[in-house]
Structure formats: structure tokens, C-alpha cells
Symmetry: C2
Subunit: 164 residues, 2 copies
């Protein structure tokens, strides 16, 4: 009886977890589970979008970034970009700090699986509710159109920030 | 003989590591060892210094940041700020990205040990060579003078960036 109850609890907890998990992107990519614990690769600010970002990576990507092995980035690398709207610091006006959370977006390197999109799988989840971006798989064309500007850098905007 | 050689190798490697370690700050604070692997708490841009930063923290600080337990930050928290000079992205002009590495600076919370400096130990290491900042212990007065503006936020400028 005790065993049955424990199993039921596990099943209920499993269902609840699945329900709380953000939906996958229209191309089937799932939100990486531990991205908020990934290490830093860089930061950026976009004047055109009045927003700021941190670029983080999974272990493969961070190792590549810190050893200069990014032309191309190795298969298995995942880059994550977290973006916030600009906000003036309430007590120090010359500083711009993160306001509203905009989105978390990812590039997953797999040169075979994503051969049609330059070796990268693209996905984005919008807002605090992490709603998948894009109506259907064609959203990826939007990603590619912009990343075309950096095709000579393996389609990646981020240059790892120098670190001591 | 094999054991002696191995021990010698360890000693030599230990000495070399100690010699390569940046000197402590004038107030005796040592550069935290693993700060480049810490998780993200926020980002910022300073218009007055044309520079951008990522704010990272040790486990105690990240836990506090993500549970809203920052008034005050708990003892044992260490906040690290890594700063780079602004640079225009070479292939996308509206983006500002990290240029030259400026410094890594830290605030270590210990309300007893650092009671005279509002509960925080301050330290900074400058440039890629990580030279300790300040001629003598009095450099801390410079830190305090600026952080006075945020004395109602436990003397911390950083508000943890919202995350889903």
C-alpha cells in the first residue's frame, strides 16, 4: 500500500511538472532545462531595441569560448541569450539596468541535424510565461535572415568577452 | 623513487600556481578563485564610463537573489562585477559589445568582519593582469562614498534581473 501511494505521488508530480514546463518551439526544440545556471560568455546592449542581454552557454560552449575554439563552434554547444528592456537605475541615472524580461533565446549546434539552417537549431521563448516564438517552423527564416550578417563567424553574433 | 618524483611534481606545480595568483587587495581580501564560473545575477551599462558589466554571484548570493532575500543580503554572499569597455559590434552597429577587459570587483558580505564598512568587504583587480586596486586600505573609502547612494538597498547597486 505504501509503495502504491509513493508511485502515485511520483506520477502526479510528474504530470504536474510536465504541465508547468514551457511548450517546445514550433521546430520541436525544447527549452534547455538548466540555462539559468549556465556560465557567462558575454553581454551586449542593443541601441535599436533599447535592451540589454547576457549570453550564457552550456559546458561545451563555455569550454569552446574560453579556449578560442569557436570557428566553428563545436557540435553540442548551446548558446543562450537572455534579454531585458532597458531601465534607468533608480538611484544612479548614468546606469542602465535590466527592466522587464523580454525573452530567452537559444542556438544549438548540431551540424548534421541542423544542416539546413547553417548547423544551428534556433528557438526563443518570450516573456516571463516563456511562450514559444513563431507560428510555425518558418520562424527560423527570420533568425537566419538576421544572422546572415555574421555568416563568417559561424552565424554567431557573440564574440566571447575577454576574461583574465 | 616514483613517489618522490610525484611529490616533487606536486610541490613544483603548487609553487607555480601560488606565484601566478594575483596579489590580494590592500585590505587583505584574496581574489575569489572560481568567480568566472559563477551564475548571473544581472547586467548593467554605464553611460558615464562607456562600459558594460555582468554581475555574478557565489551560490549564497545567487540563492538570495533568486528568492528575493536581499534586504539585507545574507552573510557569505559574494557579488562579482566584471566590466568591459564599450565596443561597437563589428558587423552590427546598433549593438554595443565587450571591448577591453577593465576589472573584476567584489563585495563580500560578513556583517561582523566588515562591520566598519557597512557589512561588506570591497576589493577590485584591474585589467587582464589582475592588479589589486588601491595604494593602501583607505581605497575602501572611495567604494563607500559611491555606494552611499544605495545605502537603503544594503549598499548594493545591483537589483537582481527578473528571470522566468
Amino acid at each position: 500500500m505504501k509503495i502504491i501511494l509513493t508511485l502515485s505521488a511520483l506520477i502526479v508530480s510528474g504530470v504536474s511538472w510536465a504541465a508547468g514546463k514551457p511548450a517546445p518551439a514550433p521546430n520541436g526544440i525544447e527549452l534547455p532545462t538548466y540555462y539559468k545556471n549556465w556560465r557567462v560568455i558575454g553581454v551586449s546592449h542593443r541601441d535599436d531595441k533599447q535592451s540589454m542581454r547576457v549570453i550564457v552557454g552550456n559546458d561545451t560552449a563555455v569550454e569552446a569560448a574560453r579556449t578560442g575554439d569557436t570557428h566553428p563552434w563545436p557540435d553540442g554547444s548551446i548558446l543562450g541569450k537572455l534579454a531585458w528592456k532597458d531601465q534607468v537605475h533608480p538611484h544612479w541615472q548614468p546606469a542602465t539596468v535590466p527592466g522587464e524580461f523580454m525573452h530567452a533565446e537559444f542556438m544549438i549546434k548540431d551540424s548534421s541535424k541542423y544542416a539546413k539552417t547553417r548547423g544551428w537549431g534556433f528557438a526563443r521563448w518570450v516573456g516571463m510565461e516563456q511562450k514559444p516564438y513563431g507560428k510555425d517552423e518558418s520562424f527560423v527564416q527570420e533568425c537566419l535572415a538576421c544572422h546572415d550578417q555574421v555568416k563568417n563567424d559561424d552565424s554567431v553574433f557573440t564574440h566571447p568577452a575577454p576574461l583574465p
